[in-house]
Amino acid sequence: MNKTPPAAPPASSGDTDLMLVERTVAGDQKAFGLLVMKYQRRIERLIGRMVRDTNLIEDIAQETFIRAYRALPQFRGEAQFYTWLYRIAVNTAKKALVDLKRDPVVSESSLRGGNDDDEETSGMENELTSAETPETVLAAKEIAATVNSAMEALPEELRQAVTLREIEGLSYEEIAEVMNCPIGTVRSRIFRAREAISAKVKPLLENQSGKRW
């Protein structure tokens, strides 16, 4: 069941995760906040594939991050941070499901599907899950469409830089070689591309209050 989580971020992004973990363990709790903000939505979406009750999703996600926070000193960086967090989330959701089954007052509708624990991560990345509502599906599609249209509107050099980075996973050095320009230019182009896209996306992200899986 513990399959590798899909769509891992580019490799050097994992270096940032490891540095944030080390910083948190060294006593800088702000660093943990960055990890939470980075992965919170993905973890909620993962849990939403396992738990039917949308009210439970945030609670389980919260519990996931609390467990991860406590276990951070044991994280050695052998796996990517998200892979490690993904397993904690799956185990936390499983435990929540077991607790729900023991609770006589819980309705069957709170539980997703059958009892098979292997179901929840088996390639459902693009399926409509029972915890999703038409509203959240629409919001997600709107964000995706906005990102794609903003990408198409970018100047070629910016679009190429951010594509090589985000989709191909190349490092700044590799992009500089491909685009035949200095690394500073690569960094600037990626930043400008992100800013242009984010300007369109931020209002949608900030307008999600109350929209949960």
């Binding site: 909620e44 945030e58 919001a139 995706a144 951010v162 960094r187």
Partner: protein, 191 residues
């Protein structure tokens, strides 16, 4: 730090998202995201954009600010600090704050010692053997005693010491043997 000069805060956060920062720049970017809501919004947006570009899908969920706020509150309520596992720090040879004082003292002591030795040598050579010997060291001729039929050569100083402290010889007050003195008990020839 020179890289920092050419980057504004938002560009710094973009580079942080790509794992391109380290050292002071990394710390500055982390602080910026932690303290500045605009920087925080950019951090979240950059990752959301990246996810859409990689997967074609966006994740919709609890607003990040609200989620993080509740999480911090829960962690504080549980009052459970993060169990720290710090790397073992190998002691380095960093000088103490008062290191120069000790170095100075050691230097002065060394010079004084060399001066004293030199003075004694010079004075001894100049004075010659004509100066009277003020004290005569006791004879250190070894004493030969019989021990189990075999002659045992001992220091006469040890014999004098043991003669003056006979009560320590043999055994302790508890009746057990008393270690070294058991083997060095004074046995005068008269006994």
């Amino acid at each position: 730090m020179d890289a920092m000069d050419n980057m504004d805060k938002q560009e710094l956060i973009s580079a942080l998202a790509d794992g391109q920062l380290e050292g002071e720049a990394f710390a500055l970017a982390v602080d910026a995201v932690a303290t500045d809501p605009t920087a925080r919004a950019s951090w979240c947006a950059y990752h959301a954009v990246g996810e859409v570009l990689r997967t074609g899908r966006a994740s919709v969920g609890t607003p990040s600010e609200a989620f993080l706020s509740r999480l911090q509150q829960r962690l504080q309520e549980q009052a459970e600090p993060l169990p720290m596992v710090r790397p073992i720090v190998v002691a380095t040879s960093r000088p103490a704050a008062n290191d120069w004082v000790w170095k100075l003292a050691a230097g002065v002591a060394s010079v004084a010692a060399v001066t004293a030795v030199g003075w004694n040598l010079w004075a001894g050579g100049a004075g010659g053997a004509g100066q009277p010997q003020l004290a005569q060291a006791p004879s250190s001729a070894p004493v030969v005693v019989e021990a189990g039929g075999a002659p045992l050569i001992r220091d006469p100083g040890l014999d004098r010491l043991l003669a003056a402290h006979r009560q320590l010889g043999g055994a302790t007050a508890l009746g057990t043997s008393s270690g070294f003195l058991r083997n060095a008990t004074f046995e005068a020839p008269s006994r």
